[in-house]
Structures are given as structure tokens and as C-alpha cells.
Symmetry: C2
């Protein structure tokens, strides 16, 4: 089994943090995104959509998509549980993963892709008006999450789950998109300080 | 338990088709999207993000996000299995759900939201150039899926799963976005004819 990895990009980081929380160590193959290695024929044979990370199983099957890779390892190594233990918790964690991805990760990523000069050749057409429009979407969701984190300790409930991984790595990715968590969102700051202090966050 | 439902919109349809495939019947509360009922205070108390569907559990907990609701019922009623039986199948199904959502549902939805006159007051700012750019993204993914469906019967493998539900309802949603499956994508047509002939597709 090998994990085709991609440095500091958010999706590979999700998987590395997840594996570190589980205590799983597997061989990694670096994919150099700056050199566009993900667009080369060798990588496209693993993932025609040209995105990292990709897990290649021992039988050669490639598994793309960060959450699919995490679910593979959750099924293989159920403890510590990060995707939920009963129907209600499973549903709440999936709800928060998707809320974070659709309303926070996607807007932050859009701000980066449509406004950052480094993306001009990759995001074609780059539409600055669309990038700008996503700044307020990202901050509106963050305000909702700040409210929720005033009621409980973690994103999806009273314990750390994969929803915290997805949300914390997106929060960290805001810097790259030149966005900031407003100073008055005290619950976000409290929670992010806790999650980013976990050893797995540096994985 | 009650399902706050939303007519022909794609996300409520996913859940209704999933429940019909499982043979589960639960009480439904219609939410009139044309009258913007989802933006009213009563509905916002269930989902501040103002989106259908929402499942309200017997203890009052609201579960939003179509895939979270489906996973709730999969955990409660494991058969017929639609999310995978072993680590590899679980991962492949999640990979295809996400590929379809990110590279097909999201572009088709963007074409609709940014180009359809009916959405001018809801998608603000409506950016026609962004809508146009997403037409080729949707069709590029459909070409990949057509290739894949030449190798196997269903989206994620050799049996019907929730990945087929998400992909088939998106394919049907293309009409609303004024997009068409090209005639030469014979595998997509073969597969869509099969999935749309299942009784649950009309749910």
C-alpha cells in the first residue's frame, strides 16, 4: 500500500492528519504539485482527475478523494473512531464534514483559485469577481461555526472527529487565500488553538 | 421521525430514491422552495443554511445534508447495502460519490445558478462567465464517466449503489441547466436508461 502525497495542499494534509490520529504509518510517494507532476501520464493513470492524494492498494486499485481514503482506513482500523459510532453520530459527523466542505472549504478554495496570481495559469478562466464573491460566503459560514462552537467543544459534538480535521485544515488554508478569522470569533480561535496543538496537525 | 422534503430539487430526490431502494417509508413535510419556505424562521431553526432536505429525529435532532441522511438510514437498516460492504468497496463508493459531486453535480448546478434567469435573485452576484465556464467542466467529467461505464455496469462497481443515485439524479438535473448528454456517450445513455427505469427513481 502506498499513499501518493502532495505536501502542504489541504487534501493531502487531511489524510496525513487522519492517519497520524489513528497511529497508522504507511509508505508515501511525494507528488510535486509545483512541477505539475499530477498532470503527467504516470499520475493520470492513477487519477485521471489529476488530484492528490491517491492511495494505491496492494492489489493495485487506486483510491482517490481524501475522505474515501480516510473511510478506507476507518473500516480497516476502527479505533480510535473518527467517523461515528451509532446512526445519529455517523449522520452528525457526515453533516458537518459536508457543511464545512461546501460552505467553507469550497469558498476559501475559490478565493484562492480565482484571485491568487499563482493560479492564473491553472484556473482558466480565472474570474476575480467570483473570487471576491466567495470571501463573504466563507466568513458567513465561519460565523455560523463560531456560534456552534459556543455550544460544544468540537465541530460535530463533544469529541474530536474527522469533521474537526476538515475544518481545522481549511481554517489554516485561509492564510494562503489571504483571509483571516475575525478577532471577535472567540469560539473559532479557542477551537482552532486546541486542534492545531494536537501532534497530528503537523503531519 | 420526519423528513422535510423539497419536491424535484436534486438533493431531496437523492434521499427519496435512497429510501425507496431501501423500502423505507417515513412521514414527509413538504417545503415549498418556490415560496422560499426554506428561508423562513421555522425552517432556519432546523437548518440555518436554508437547504432541504432535513431529517428530524424523534429526539428533535435535525440532520441536514442528503448524504448524511442516507448514511443515517444505512446504519439503521443495513440491507440492501448501498454504501459498501468491506473497506475497499466502502472507499470506491465514497470516491465515486465525491467525484460525481465535485466534478459533475457542482458544475451542472453552477451552470443553472449562474445562467438561469430564475436564479438571478437567489445567486447574487450571478456571474454568467462562471456559468459558461462550467459547461465544459460538466461535459469533461461526463466523458470520463462514459469511459468508466464502458468497463463496468454501475458507477462504483458491478452492483447498484448510492453512487448511481447521485450520478443519475445529476444527469436528470442537466435538463434544468439546459445541458444534454452528447449522443455519442453510449455508455452513459445505457446506464442512465437502466437507473431511471428503477421504480425508486420516480420517488
Amino acid at each position: 500500500m502506498q499513499l501518493y502525497d502532495g505536501g502542504r495542499a489541504p487534501n493531502p494534509r487531511r489524510v496525513r492528519m487522519f492517519l497520524a490520529e489513528k497511529g497508522i504509518d504507511i509508505p508515501k510517494v511525494p507528488v510535486d504539485l509545483a512541477k505539475m507532476e499530477q498532470a503527467g501520464d504516470a499520475f493520470k493513470a492513477l487519477n485521471p482527475l489529476q488530484r492528490v492524494p491517491v492511495l494505491v492498494l496492494d492489489d493495485g486499485t487506486p483510491i482517490a478523494e481524501s475522505m474515501a481514503i480516510c473511510r478506507y482506513f476507518e473500516a480497516l482500523h476502527p479505533e480510535p473512531n473518527l467517523f461515528g459510532r451509532d446512526p445519529k453520530e455517523i449522520a452528525l459527523i457526515e453533516m458537518w464534514i459536508r457543511r464545512v466542505e461546501l460552505n467553507f472549504y469550497s469558498p476559501v478554495s475559490t478565493v484562492f483559485r480565482h484571485l491568487h496570481p499563482a493560479m492564473a495559469e491553472r484556473e482558466v478562466p480565472q474570474i476575480p469577481a467570483w473570487g471576491e464573491a466567495n470571501k463573504s460566503k466563507a466568513l458567513a459560514f465561519l460565523a455560523l461555526l463560531d456560534f456552534e462552537l459556543g455550544k460544544r467543544k468540537f465541530v460535530a459534538g463533544d469529541r474530536f472527529t474527522v469533521a474537526d480535521i476538515v475544518a481545522a485544515i481549511t481554517t489554516d488554508f485561509m492564510r494562503v487565500a489571504k483571509l483571516e478569522v475575525p478577532a471577535d470569533m472567540k469560539n473559532i480561535h479557542r477551537w482552532f488553538n486546541e486542534i492545531s496543538a494536537r501532534p497530528a496537525f503537523a503531519a
